[in-house]
């Protein structure tokens, strides 16, 4: 099949959301008013209501990305939505049969179908649109009006449910995603960096859970030395999709939209990933976009390292990790040590830590970016307070403070 990737509209999904909102408003509004208006609706009103119901039902089908729905069921659903607007006269018998079938199917789905989160809400929405549409073809008997009103309430409840579950959000494409989801006994904060196609680092609240791009591809989010919370690496494909979270068997999804432009920065799977994510989190909390430059060795950092070498005053050990910044810092440190005539050898009692976990027993000197930030200033205290409220458990970091202040 040739790739029919037309250019997605920046507001494309938002437009679908607006259409859904409009359709629910019109259809539910009519269904809820009908009990108080015993007169039969004219042809125009019926066409409008059934038309909006048809459009609303199709939009729900699109938004739901219902991979769990059999194709024939989707065809049948669309058929049931498309027919009422085309009919002229009343169809009381057929209408009631269709409504009864829609209600039964929904009840059966509720009882036996264990699909992804919000799938039942989507099924309910689709069935309610079908139901109101076909009830519009029935004479307004008391039963028809009451059932119609109930379906109207169902539409509102279904829309509310998918909205609260965050299924209608449109995450900014290519911008790191920060969100909070209801999952189990307490909400879970989630940060996805860089939120672009490819590998992404996912930071969550410190609670045992698994994360993945599909229900059968979940990996545990684990603590990392020197950081707080939990971390997982997830591959996100291009375009709109879902990030799955599982906490003790309870599952939910977070809409993601990494876009089509791949991440070209350093590998987030490296040791600097969490530090970068911390800076991104701080940037997001200020309302800015989170696409920050990758942390690098600054002139100030290099100068500070030279000062630390001078302060050590003798042989020392250098501890690094695989990051580029640590490698560059190690060069600076070794040059300075050579200039001063200090030996850089493993196993000494003085350790200059440029990356990784400081060893126990030895006296260690942390590189500037590893030192906890100075939280005594008003700006720093504001950063710490905001971070604590937005992502409980996350520790302030030097890079985070720099991003907050920058």
């Amino acid at each position: 099949m040739h790739n029919h990737g037309a250019v997605g509209l920046p507001l494309g999904f938002t437009l679908l959301r607006l259409i859904l909102l409009g359709a629910v408003t019109v259809v539910a509004g009519w269904a809820l008013v009908r009990p108080f208006v015993p007169a039969a609706s004219g042809l125009l009103t019926r066409r409008v209501v059934t038309g909006f119901a048809g459009i609303g039902g199709v939009v729900v089908l699109l938004i739901a990305e219902a991979t769990w729905m059999p194709s024939l069921a989707a065809v049948a659903l669309i058929g049931l939505l498309a027919v009422p607007p085309a009919l002229r006269g009343a169809r009381p018998v057929l209408g009631k049969l269709v409504v009864a079938a829609a209600v039964l199917v929904t009840a059966a789905a509720g009882a036996w179908f264990s699909g992804p989160p919000s799938s039942f809400a989507y099924i309910t929405l689709m069935a309610a649109f079908v139901g109101v549409s076909w009830l519009a073809l029935c004479p307004p008997t008391a039963m028809v009006r009451v059932v119609g009103a109930a379906l109207g309430v169902t539409l509102l409840a279904g829309l509310g449910q998918v909205t609260i579950a965050g299924q209608l959000t449109t995450p900014a494409t290519g911008d790191p995603l920060l969100t909070r989801v209801a999952l189990g006994p307490s909400p879970v904060d989630v940060l996805v960096v860089p939120h672009m196609p490819g590998w992404n680092i996912v930071h969550t609240t410190d609670t045992p859970l698994s994360v993945g791009n599909a229900p059968n591809a979940l990996v545990p989010a684990l603590p990392r030395d020197g950081t707080t919370g939990r971390w997982a690496l997830v591959w996100l494909p291009e375009g709109r999709g879902e990030l799955w979270l599982d906490r003790a068997g309870t599952r939910t999804t977070v809409p993601v939209d990494p876009g089509k432009v791949a991440w070209t920065g350093p590998d987030v799977r490296g040791p600097e990933g969490p530090d970068y994510a911390s800076a991104v989190l701080a940037a997001k909390l200020t309302g800015k976009r989170g696409d920050l430059p990758w942390p690098a060795l600054t002139d100030a950092d290099a100068e500070a390292l030279r000062g630390q070498v001078a302060a050590i005053g003798g042989p020392f050990t250098v501890l690094t990790d695989d990051s580029r910044r640590a490698a560059e810092a190690a060069e600076v440190v070794r040059e300075e040590a050579a200039r001063r005539g200090y030996a850089v050898t493993p196993g000494t009692s003085e350790v200059l830590v440029l990356g990784g976990t400081p060893p126990s027993g030895a006296r260690h000197h942390l590189a500037p970016w590893l030192v906890p930030p100075d939280l005594t200033t008003p700006e720093a205290r504001r950063y710490a307070r905001t971070l604590s409220a937005a992502f409980p458990g996350a520790a302030p970091s030097r890079s985070g403070l720099a991003a907050w202040a920058g």
């Binding site: 997605g8 999904f13 375009g239």
Partner: protein
Amino acid sequence: MVDTHAHTHAVGGPLNTRRHKPALYAFTLIVLAHWAEHITQAVQIYALGWPVPQAKGALGLWFPWLVSSEVMHYGYALIMLVFLFALRKGFVGRSKTWWTVALGLQFWHHIEHLLLIIQASASTNLLGKPAPTSIIQLIIPRVELHLFYNTVVFIPMVIAMVLHMRPTPEERSEMHCTCAVPAGASA
């Protein structure tokens, strides 16, 4: 002098009277060109065994965006729909019936393309499929489906045109265009 202005309006204006024949020629040219693209694509896939993503018809080999753009496909479907609707009033009798059949089928074809362009624009596909998918495409693959759609619209269109060129005497008396072949030639 008889004022035919009002009557011309009643049968759809110059497009369905004195310009009906050239309009139908122009429309036929567009349809045949599009048809040729689909036939070429089908030959590339079934006779030459090309992978579907590489089978881009004729023009599509030089201008791939013509094939890959949902906007193009929708635009063409809309143009066909507009022409079928706009030229309908010039037909009478049997030819009008066949032309209306083509119009109805093309309306559905257009709805399928509308659904595709909505999905592409909203970056969300039906049933979470990897590519925009129309309703009947849930059952029949895209290339074959749209080949079918173009066929079922083309056939009644051609029948309508043939009958329009060879009308019965009663139909000829109701026609206001110059599409019909002279009476002696159609006998």
